[in-house]
Amino acid sequence: MLRIRAKKQLRDFVLEVDISAGERETLVLMGSNGSGKTTLLDLIAGTATPDDGLIQVDGRTLYDSDEGVNLPPEQRDIGYVYQHYALFPHLTVYDNVAFGLRTRRMPGEDIDRRVMDELEFVGLRELRNARASKLSGGQKQKVALARALAIKPSLLLLDEPLSALDIQTSARVRDCLRERIKKDGIPCIVVLHNPLDAVTLGDRACVLDLGQVVLTGKPGDLIMDWPAGCLTQPREIQG
């Protein structure tokens, strides 16, 4: 169970959301550029702090302004796949995926097994010794996913995981992602722009506009409701 009630003053508007999601549910966040989607993910991950609110994952309080609780990102147990992957360029594919396991001081054999399993799943076992900076966009995306999943997070955040990929790679990564999310039953919040991706990946969708949730429901139903251009036209103001 995921509960997010957060308020934060951004440069041009106030981000104010109250969202909840059930167990094993994939929540899709949509909305024009600068509507506050990435900031919301950062608030959940702990790399940004709300002005007020409550964030709970599986009954565990990550942030509570009333109680003065604000767990640092390293204690939140959240897997985050960044829009531009944020792979560590000085490390190999293997070391990128092993990074979160080493910080958890797992035994070397367990790290090796887990990393190889994750790389096998995304089909990049052969590239384990390659530098992360030398990979293609699709490969980087898969490594970023493997790295986030390797720590077996209690919540997975994905920021536009398919936006920088070409159509064929995007379809492959999307299928890979859907298979894994469903298999592991990880609660997940995905920022997406493409309605087709939202329908394929999401159980529920929220449309954000200027920091407010303006529509919520099943992705398939929302396609009929949202205003034309609401999801595709970038706003001039940035959050």
Partner: protein, 279 residues
């Protein structure tokens, strides 16, 4: 008509080629005349035999040893103290940050003699702080410690500025990703930020070391010119020039070679920058 156009185009290309050649020759002449010739003269004015025999001269050996020890110590101090300062200034916002930045950069434009005088007024026996240190029997001025302090004073901005820029260039999402993967702030710094910024940090440290190695004005003002204690290579060159020109030239040639190596190293490092590309 088209033939005329072709002829005009060819003439333009020819003029362009002549102009480019002229510009290149001018660059060669300027560089050779103003920088190359004086530097080359150092090599031409000393025979290889005299150079080699000067390397055994106790004056040269003492100066070389002292310079290497003090400049290495200075560079180490600058890196240890300057790295956190550079990181805080790259990532943090605090009141008076601009003022702190200005003070850090001040030694770059301050004449070295002024720097030496300032250090003397602060840490000399009658200095603002030095008078209290003197009570406890601690004397800094005119010691090897003063040499290191003078070098740190003038060389620190070279490292701090470069380190700050290198830290600013590190994509923040890399640090955030490391934190979400369970790394503390300190571990994130040592495992992600510093390695990604490493080339810039090394080139800053090398520049800083080179500046410390060549320090003259502040050192002679604050530390004096005592053999084996404060007479570094630049001071030894100045002193030897009044008696033993070969020793002076030998030291100068060593410094030119060291400077050339430093510039080459910095160029190579700055070309090998790691870039985090989205695709």
């Amino acid at each position: 008509m088209s033939e005329k156009r072709l002829a005009a185009g060819a003439a333009r290309n020819w003029h362009g080629a002549v102009f480019a050649s002229f510009a290149v020759i001018l660059v060669y002449l300027l560089v050779l005349l103003f920088t190359g010739l004086p530097v080359l003269s150092l090599f031409l004015k000393i025979s290889p035999e005299a150079f080699l025999s000067s390397l055994g001269d106790p004056v040269v050996v003492e100066a070389l040893k002292l310079s290497l020890i003090t400049s290495a110590a200075s560079a180490l101090i600058v890196v240890i103290v300057g790295t956190p300062v550079a990181y805080v200034n790259a990532r943090g916002h605090y009141p008076g940050k601009e003022l702190v930045d200005t003070v850090i950069d001040l030694p770059v434009v301050l004449p070295p003699a002024v720097a030496g005088l300032a250090l003397l007024m602060a840490f000399g026996r009658r200095g603002v702080l030095g008078q209290y240190l003197d009570v406890f029997g601690v004397t800094i001025a005119f010691t090897t410690v003063a040499v290191v302090m003078a070098q740190v004073f003038v060389a620190s901005p070279f490292y701090i500025r470069q380190a700050r820029t290198s830290f600013e260039d590190v994509d923040r999402s890399l640090e955030h990703a490391a934190r979400t993967l369970g790394a503390s702030r300190l571990r994130t710094f040592f495992m992600v930020t510093a390695p990604v910024a490493l080339n810039g940090l090394i080139s800053g440290a090398v520049l800083s070391w080179a500046r410390a190695l060549g320090e003259f004005g502040a050192t002679i003002m604050f530390a004096g010119n005592f053999t084996g204690r404060t007479r570094t290579m630049p001071l030894a060159i100045y002193t030897a020039m009044q008696g033993d020109l070969d020793a002076s030239l030998a030291l100068a040639v060593i410094m030119v070679i060291a400077s050339f190596a430093v510039i080459a190293a910095v160029k190579v490092l700055s070309r090998r920058r790691l870039i985090v590309a989205p695709d």
